[in-house]
């Protein structure tokens, strides 16, 4: 992974010292809350429903065991003993005291982490495929490009006060696992006929109050032009993006209102006018960054593991876990492992300090100390020897972290909702817990197969409900929580916004509604191999709507 150089260390240390001074001036009264608010937000500090909240970036989801131990320590010493992994590959601490925040940031800086640009109208944490560097369908590791974008965009003076926040995602694989079509810019690494690396460029995707699938701006942008072209897009957005209405300020609205072709022409003209190409990436620059992401020393192994096969034959729980949580790796004899943070009756994405330490220890024993945080709010070990899977599984069982549900109905994406968030209209976590209990039988969840349930507590859509196969949106209905359901959303290559499935439900009806949807799918699928989304694509929303209409009074 990327290792800070002297400049990076000084840069982050200076920022911590600056914030320490700002907090001291706030506490001494030299700064009013009005003056201090934008300063704290630039350091990822929000004032939420119950307390301050600190959002720490995990760049492109890549984390070391040492960093995870530091996060665990921060959770234990300065917070209430846990942290919350978010849908943007960040971690949030829900209860830090303002007086402690400079010390927390100093501890983060010691392990090369910070909270810069995790808030505000700037370029946010660049996200990436959580199987980056490991997936068999990878054309090139996306993380060097994400790191180049991160360095270029860090405190970029021209792009610190954009009309609104700006999110970039990068995938290097043929299958999009990073939801790139729902970001302000999504890059997909491609190779041209000459074998050269470049990017398919998608612009203007997003969720929230006005969801849009991104528009493809370029089929193949040469690698060298990554930064120059990104700058051209940002400049056009910065110039024309609306600043009069925050709900219409994202680049997706600019594309929608000004017209895609108009904006494309402006971007291409700006890109052409950049002329001197100061931002052109040289191959040695890319190689220097890519060297940080060199793979670990893999052994030469057989593709199949007799040890794994024997364990699977002996232990049905292990077999179920490998079926759901173990993914193919590009190197023979290795696998990527998803550690689910969605146990029955748990809070999706939360990990206690003890759990984080257990994960860090297991990462050191079985995964070269390498970890990823996925936008699906789980932890990933990218590189695990298949022979080690039974021992890793035993370690996870001992730590209470062996839930075998990755990608299944109980692996919900869930925002913090009204239990924590000042913007929310309804709670999300209790709904996720209801669903986790309703489908707790692992055999049943496995029979249902891949099914993305995504829950947001307000229209801002941090829980990605628009792109859930089953999307659940909490709203305020005359002072009561109420939940609207959408069906058929897809965050991947077949990017699609879900369809409304009827009027909606009170909190205690939501799990019934999800079960009704699942039962309807099971009754109409052409075979157990036809996934929910495939079946939905074939039959549409009507049979589901009809089944939901039988669920009693809902107005």
């Amino acid at each position: 992974m990327y290792v800070y150089d002297d400049f990076d260390h000084q840069f982050v240390a200076a920022r911590v010292a600056q914030f320490r001074d700002q907090v001291a001036r706030r506490l001494s009264g030299d700064l009013t809350e009005e003056q201090f608010r934008p300063l704290r937000l630039m350091n990822g500090v929000y004032l939420q429903l119950h307390s301050y909240m600190l959002r720490v970036a995990i760049p492109y989801g890549t984390l070391s065991s040492r960093q995870l131990r530091s996060l665990a320590r921060i959770a234990r010493v300065y917070d209430k003993g846990y942290g919350h992994f978010t849908t943007r590959q960040n971690i949030q601490f829900n209860w830090p005291a303002l007086k402690d925040l400079p010390d927390i940031l100093e501890e983060l800086a010691a392990v090369e982490m910070h909270a810069i640009q995790t808030s505000g109208n700037c370029i946010r944490n660049v996200t990436a495929d959580h199987f980056a560097g490991a997936a068999p369908d990878e054309i090139a590791d996306p993380r060097p490009y994400a790191e180049i974008l991160r360095q270029w965009s860090s405190l970029h003076p021209e792009f610190t006060y954009l009309p609104r926040k700006f999110k970039i995602a990068v995938t290097g694989a043929t299958e999009d696992r990073a939801a790139i079509r729902f970001h302000d810019i999504g890059f997909a690494v491609k190779k041209n006929a000459a074998g050269e690396i470049g990017f398919e460029v998608h612009v203007g995707g997003g969720l929230g109050r006005s969801p849009f699938v991104a528009w493809k701006l370029r089929d193949f942008l040469p690698e060298a032009d990554l930064l120059a072209y990104t700058q051209a897009i940002l400049r056009v957005y910065n110039l024309y993006g609306r600043r009069d209405n925050k709900y219409k300020a994202r680049i997706k609205i600019l594309l929608h209102e000004a017209g895609r072709e108009t904006i494309r022409d402006e971007v291409e003209a700006e890109f052409a006018a950049l002329g001197d190409r100061a931002l052109t990436l040289r191959p040695d620059d890319v190689a220097r960054i890519a060297a940080h992401f060199a793979p670990p020393a893999f052994e030469t192994l057989a593709a199949e593991s007799a040890i794994e096969a024997a364990a699977a034959a002996r232990d049905p729980a292990f077999a179920r876990w490998t079926g759901a949580n173990v993914s193919a790796h590009k190197v023979a004899g290795y696998a990527s492992v998803t550690i689910s943070l969605k146990p029955e009756d748990g809070v999706p994405g939360d990990a206690t300090a003890t759990e984080m330490e257990a994960i860090a220890d297991l990462a050191d024993r079985f995964a070269f100390g390498h970890l990823r945080i996925s936008h699906r709010q789980n932890v990933v070990f990218p590189h695990v020897k298949r022979d080690d899977l039974p021992a890793l599984h035993a370690g996870l069982v001992a730590a209470g972290l062996a839930t075998a549900n990755a990608g299944l109905v109980t692996d919900t994406i869930t925002c913090p909702g009204l239990d924590f968030c000042a913007l929310a209209n309804a709670r999300s976590i209790p709904i996720a817990k209801d669903i986790s209990r309703r489908f707790a039988d692992p055999a049943r969840a496995a029979e249902i197969g891949p099914l993305d349930v995504k829950i947001s507590g307000c229209i801002n859509a941090c829980g990605h409900h628009h792109v859930g196969a089953i999307g659940i949106l909490g709203v305020d209905r005359k002072g009561r929580e109420f939940y609207q359901i959408t069906l058929g959303g897809d965050a991947g290559d077949a990017a699609r916004i879900g369809d409304a499935a009827g009027p909606g439900f009170w909190p205690d009806q939501v799990a019934d509604a999800v079960e009704t949807i699942v039962d309807t799918y099971l009754s109409l699928r052409s075979s157990p191999r036809e996934t929910f989304l495939e079946a939905y694509g074939r039959v549409g929303v009507a049979p589901f709507k009809a089944a939901l209409a039988t669920l009693g009074e809902r107005t």
Binding site: E33, Q48, H50, A75, K99, G346, D350, L418, D419, I429
Partner: protein, 99 residues
């Protein structure tokens, strides 16, 4: 009726204004006020804002629930009593194990 609430500056915790003008964490200890008295209490709270004790004081509307004054909205009920569903319990057990 209303109560006056704010966040404590130094640690962000939710606090309520009691009958003596102190800021307390327990909702039950909050002074229950008429809208006029609440407006006066918010004006008086300006001193506590200036003294860096609290930020953003505002009034919370109450309803009568089984004879007890209760915040009228779900948001304020959760704010007054804490998350209804979080990892605090797991973390408490975690800390007990570590101790």
């Amino acid at each position: 009726m209303q109560v006056v609430t704010a966040n404590r500056l130094i640690d962000g915790r939710v606090v309520f204004r009691d009958a003596e003008g102190r800021w307390v964490e327990a909702f039950a200890a909050a002074a229950v006020l008429t809208p006029e008295a609440a407006a006066a209490a918010i004006a008086a709270a300006g001193e506590d804002v200036a003294a860096r004790r609290i930020v953003d004081p505002y009034a919370v509307a109450l309803i009568d629930l089984d004879g007890r004054p209760t915040p009228a909205t779900m948001r304020e009920r959760i704010r007054a009593s804490g998350p209804t569903s979080g990892s605090e319990a797991a973390a408490r057990a975690d800390r007990a194990r570590a101790a």
